[in-house]
Amino acid sequence: MASTRNALRDNAGVAEALGRNYSAGFVTEIEMTGLPPGLDEETIRQLSAIKREPEWMTEWRLAAYRHWLTMPQPDWAKLKMDAIDYQAISYYAAPKQAPKSLDEVDPALLETYEKLGVPLHERAALAGVAVDAVFDSVSVGTTFRKQLAEAGVIFCSMSEAIREHPELVQKYLGSVVPPGDNFFAALNSAVFSDGSFVFIPRGVRCPMELSTYFRINAQNTGQFERTLIVAEEGAHVSYLEGCTAPKRDENQLHAAVVELVALERAQIKYSTVQNWYPGDENGVGGIYNLVTKRGDCRGDDSKISWTQVETGSAITWKYPSVVLRGDRSVGEFHSVALTHHYQQADTGTKMIHIGKDTKSKIVSKGISAGRSNNSYRGLVKVEKGAERARNYTQCDSLLIGKKCGAHTFPYMEVKNPSAIVEHEATTSKISDDQMFYCRSRGIGEEDAVSMIVDGFCKQVFRELPMEFAVEAKKLLEVSLEGAVG
């Protein structure tokens, strides 16, 4: 009889049907300028010159480049990745018309961001959210600058910060992720093109959400953005980033570095909805998303919280981390990673407990479908002096189909006898019982799957600011479209 059709158990059906609509896959036709592909010291000097950077910045980049040359590309995550030809990448691409203010931004660009649901005109802008839009290698505009300036908040592109606030940049850049930290961070330090800079002075609660929207458009480019957020004593800020790219057959590299500094009693909340082009259903194309993100709870009673929803990219390699240096500081990591087709995600976090009475919490939800592989890799480290450090980690994996993999690799290193570190992990699939229960109440298979997946992720979605939570939920729904049937 028809109702014995068993879509969820029929893995072939699920795998075939796990179609994805990547709605952000269009290309913007706009006149571009940039550097030809290739990387050597001269490229870096040119890049630095185009950006009218001071001498110290050029030298900083060159030192990072020289260090990078001595490093091997890491392979411990067991990712299946084509060798990256660093000479085939263009390290700078920008719209030809450099806008001086938002009013001068090329209409084609504004339209691009409209289409992505990120209107840049302030009158149309998301209420209460200031946006910095980064198109390929450059920032094309930042909204609500005036209102922010009145509160004493600096929110601008990194290029501008290097020119306008060199003392702050020099003080904090590379202080959390040193240029030689790892292979991709070294590369980023040498060639980073733009990104956002946020500075919240002492005692200021940022009056609105800050957000950066990253878009890769040009062919054969890599995006190497660099973001630095500094919250001084008692300052609070919530920051969101979103990412998309056109559908292209070749793999494109995105190697970002994000550094967060929280001084005494400061709080930084950093949310990401990552929807880079994941490649097609045969694993062709897609972004290599190789990112170093780290926060430093430098002051006592500070707090840094990472929330991420990762649905895009052919390969994701990122471990947003928190160094809990200050006493009583708090680190959090909330993650949803969804992979399908041939996507590979290796993501997690590091919580390094150094200060006394530090606390960290990790909630990771992995969903694997198609032929994808989805790994949680995390480290909780309690140093000798971290008296009464406390960590709780929860990792849950959900499998949809029989050809995917879901993996959990937690590392726990504890050197203090008063610390308590706990890790729990489960792996399951959507149960036939849950599906039947929903269907017997009249809810169709697809809706039931997306409802159950949404419930599975609820703990993380709760951490997102409202607008992003809605977007994240929609993204998962789109990703699971045609998952069954």
Binding site: S3, T4, R9, R439, R441, I443
Partner: protein
């Protein structure tokens, strides 16, 4: 309304239902009783379309349509409701959200207008009052952390909201103490109407003290071996199912 003709069904290759025939008219309450393993729960699952239950012969029509040809959600939309013996927990999915999704999916399938959240909440409040359920249950995830009694009451509450034409109560009394049983029965009685029929599947007679059936059937060895009015249930109570075996089961039909 519901016509079951000579129904045969297998689970994991084993024949459980062996020629069951039953007719239910609108507004009637039928109790299906029987010993463990007689096929009571199988009947409920086959009617609502659970995977793994293979119908090998016979037919089921519901308001003239072939029920067995429909997907579970289509059966729900057609007006069949199964109150589960073991309601499933769905972590993270809010009860209210779930109910609204279910109700609107059914309305949509029937070509009715979907309810917006205000209309839905109004409806929920009405039903809550009737069912005497605290709205605290609504804010929790579907069945998660519910006690046995709460789960069963939640099932009846869903039934009140979804307003099915045919409600199948699968051992709704199991695991309930007498107070919870009364509450559930009150909920069911409040929903009785000339248009709505019930199949009350139970092992014990005591539920029928509170939900009075029009007909009582004894299911044994995969078929109905005895039918009668509520006096039959009392007779069973007195003599036990062994009496049915001696009395009613055809030779060679034992499971």
């Amino acid at each position: 309304m519901l016509n079951i003709e000579n129904l045969h069904a297998r689970v994991e290759g084993k024949e459980i239902l062996k020629g069951l025939t039953l007719r239910v008219k609108p507004g009637e309450v039928h109790a299906i009783m029987g010993p463990n393993g007689a096929g009571k729960s199988t009947l409920g699952n086959v009617l609502s379309g659970r995977d793994g239950y293979e119908v090998t012969a016979g037919s089921v029509t519901f308001d003239g349509i072939d029920l067995l040809a429909l997907e579970p959600e289509a059966r729900a939309a057609a007006g069949v409701f199964l109150a589960f013996q073991y309601p499933v927990e769905i972590p993270g999915v809010n009860n209210t959200y779930f109910l609204r999704a279910a109700l609107n999916a059914q309305r949509k399938a029937r070509g009715e207008k979907e309810l917006d959240s205000m209309q839905f909440l109004k409806l929920v409040r009405e039903k809550l009052k009737v069912m005497q359920i605290s709205d605290e249950l609504l804010h929790r995830a579907v069945n998660e952390g519910f006690s046995g009694g709460e789960k069963k009451r939640n099932e009846i509450f869903q039934m009140a909201l979804l307003e099915p034409k045919l409600a199948i109560l699968d051992e709704t009394d199991s695991g309930l103490d007498i107070d919870a049983l009364k509450q559930v029965a009150q909920g069911v009685n409040a929903l009785r109407s000339p248009q709505r029929s019930f199949l009350v599947i139970t092992h014990y007679q005591r539920l029928l003290d509170y939900i009075e059936p029009d007909f009582v059937h004894v299911l044994a060895g995969g078929r109905i071996v005895e039918s009668g009015d509520k006096a039959l249930a009392l007779k069973l109570e007195e003599h036990g199912y062994a009496w049915v075996k001696d009395h009613g089961e055809p030779a060679g039909a034992s499971a």
